[in-house]
Symmetry: D2
Subunit: 261 residues, 4 copies
């Protein structure tokens, strides 16, 4: 089983918390709009290089950036500076384990200074994977969703209870995948969770789905894809998830991914 | 203790799930960008009327809209139609209990049809509070954050474990406030949770903070505000939270809110 | 013939030119994106109050803001400060003549300091029309377009020559309307020019169209509307222009506007 | 004097005019916001490949896209479809003459059908320059601005007369450069005109500036740059323009560009 070599970028807004309350608390609807617009922009910017960005906490975002080199990272940093009242620090690391990659990226940024250190701005740390060392199976993505979320929840429960159900499922899944498999799972809207995973056997996915069912009573299904970039792997995973929907199965792998794991 | 009369709007994208995979799955970075931009826009649109919008699941958003009348709601629906490839249904309800208001809004929308019914588009249901029945204490907001999140978590843990910590805290707080007090709490980025609450005694906030500490080990603090709109109440809550920070306390109420509860 | 009382707001980015080259020239694609996004945002912000904003020079924009009071103006200024790396000054004036209104607004801002004075930021000058003095015919809009622009130009000439043709037409029309009638005309994309006009007889429109034809050989048509806001007047004008298209006429007035002028 | 080989892309919104009035005229502030947002997005998308996009008529935009291959173009088309209620057709051509390149791109699109043909959507025509045939001097940019526009116009004239002055200057310059040198000049905000030019001697710039002065009384200055992409050439031009400002000259070439022409 070949190792993945996933490239993870941590994006951290510089000294953002203090900025939001200086000289006095800023209007919440503006902050919400700022955070969402900035995320939308970096999502498109890395998306142009077939990367994925997850909003995470908004002031800290996590991206899978295989295919984006140092100059692409510098360009994202520049465009944020030129179009927003805040700046961003970036730290990149790669590893067979998504969790270890993010941990390494985090350490590099922490070494450079506190997230609320006024003097620590626009750090650009770490090294993207050299073009010559990239492989067609560097990224593995598992795309989970809730089985029949509309029929069972959205159209039946009130909107908040549907939301809380998705929240509970999500946190259970995130913790399980993190602890067991060093994988990073993120909420991406609706009832969707996208996980950046190492090579995992079918059994691992079955166990994860069983675990979530046992804890919450909710049924998940999952599509798995592999590729040289987040988009390739994630798009394969989406197609696999469509197969689950069509065939009533709960785990499918994209054809191209069949032998990858 | 006077009743709140909070006006809650449920925003639901019409038939969004099927759209995202028709004719085949759409690129994830575009979907992320679309969802975030649309949220940013409705946040500003209701923000112009001193309302708050929470992204919730992105395909279902929840807003506190005291001060936005029926034409303001219709205007939001129109601007989404004119600028996005998707449309949105809106349902409004008011109640002393935030949870009951949202439940009523949800029922009205469910009665009109399924979220994935192709024929159910651009519903505009429910009735905003008439101008003559609004009061200066209709909205109560409690703004929670994690005590010293940067020093204890962001600068120490890796980015994902910080994120998971905030996630766990959030879900505990959301469930507790929902079950005990019929209040609606939402993640708004960073380590911030904004809760739409009925009138609550100090004891209720202390118990909530104690509960979260017992379950997760994390310390929260909270500022509480009241007003005729989400912005007034929420801005008071932010100022109160700044007092917590300045004074080392864990619960403050905005001066104007002192007698409201 | 009752006087219009159009309320015009000049929006001027503070010290923008120097900012674009400090500490060295900023990337043009970022500047283009910043300017366009900021314009899109203020367009929606005043649009929520049924106002129109014209991009003009982007660093100086002109808005028709009947219906937006002082707090709506302050809110626009605040949201720009909270979401952009630049700030904006606003100056408001009203007059029966659109050109005189803008001239008065400009003088107020010039009195406060130079557009490139570092110390002159976030001016908020002038007084919106009090609610009690507004009338249903305060705003008159004439919406011009080029007759059969697609068939005669876009599908025949190369893209640049089509563009230049529209440019020539536009400048001729702008100068003519400004000098003869104190009206302000703005390019709004495609082959469309929207003019803020005082009450004008049919003869005045005929002469303007004849003048442009004589100078450029291009035929225009025009719809005219009146209302209490830019949106009301402008929407009437659009409907009138549709009548021109349907009936092959070159001047129509919205029914509601028939007696206004 | 080596030939430039500028790659020009025409972007044309499909059937946009009819869409804006179907089923009835859409709200102008939404259309303004839609057009500006879409332009901002494609500006950033091509900007990620060091391209420039000019808003031109908004429904027809012109881009200089050396460095953006066929898949980058397809990606822009996809992201517009996924995030907007309209679609876009793209046509690419390269030539030593910017005007000839755009003319060729236009013809390819016209051959595919009318801009208002409902059946003609998402054309992707033409061929980007193969990577192996690109050179470091493919793009030449001349960046013009008005000498002391703030002191002479913005701070003195009213906002509309300043605007009209810039408009007159712009159209004179655009026509002159188009007819004499087959170059494409575009307004980019403020008092700035960016021209995509072939290799031109100093005399040609002097004559252009003299011509504009003779017609309008306004003094221009210009910085010229050359590079393998619009950004490289344009950034050189901006630096050269800063030299004009510093030294009081009216024509400077970026050092790297000194031997290019």
């Amino acid at each position: 089983m070949p190792d993945t070599n996933v490239q993870v970028t941590l994006l951290q807004l510089d000294n953002y918390g203090p900025w939001t309350v200086t000289p006095e608390p800023r209007r919440e609807s503006d902050l919400q709009s700022l955070q969402a617009s900035l995320f939308a922009d970096v999502s498109r910017a890395f998306g142009a290089h077939d990367g994925y960005v997850f909003f995470t906490r908004f002031d800290n975002m996590v991206a899978v950036t295989n295919g984006a080199d140092a100059s692409a990272h510098a360009r994202v940093q520049e465009t944020v500076r030129n179009r927003y009242p805040v700046t961003v620090s970036l730290s990149v690391a790669a590893d067979a384990s998504p969790a270890d990659a993010l941990a390494a990226a985090t350490r590099r940024l922490q070494t450079a200074g506190s997230a609320q250190d006024e003097a620590r701005t626009e750090v650009l740390a770490g090294d993207p994977i050299p073009a010559g060392r990239r492989t067609p199976e560097d990224v593995r993505i598992a795309h989970f969703d809730v089985d029949d979320v509309t029929g069972r929840y959205t159209d039946r429960l009130d909107a908040y209870d549907s939301h809380l159900t998705v929240e509970r499922v999500r946190v259970e899944l995130m913790e399980y995948l993190r602890e067991r498999h060093g994988s990073l799972a993120f909420f991406v809207g609706g009832d969707n969770v996208i996980a950046v995973v190492p090579g995992l056997a079918d059994r691992a996915y079955d166990d994860a789905i069983d675990h979530v069912h046992a804890e919450t009573g909710v049924d998940l299904k999952v599509g798995v894809g592999v590729g040289s970039t987040a988009h390739e792997a994630g798009h394969g995973a989406k197609h696999a998830l469509e197969e689950c929907r069509a065939d009533g199965t709960r785990l499918e792998r994209n054809a191209d991914a069949a032998y990858g794991d």
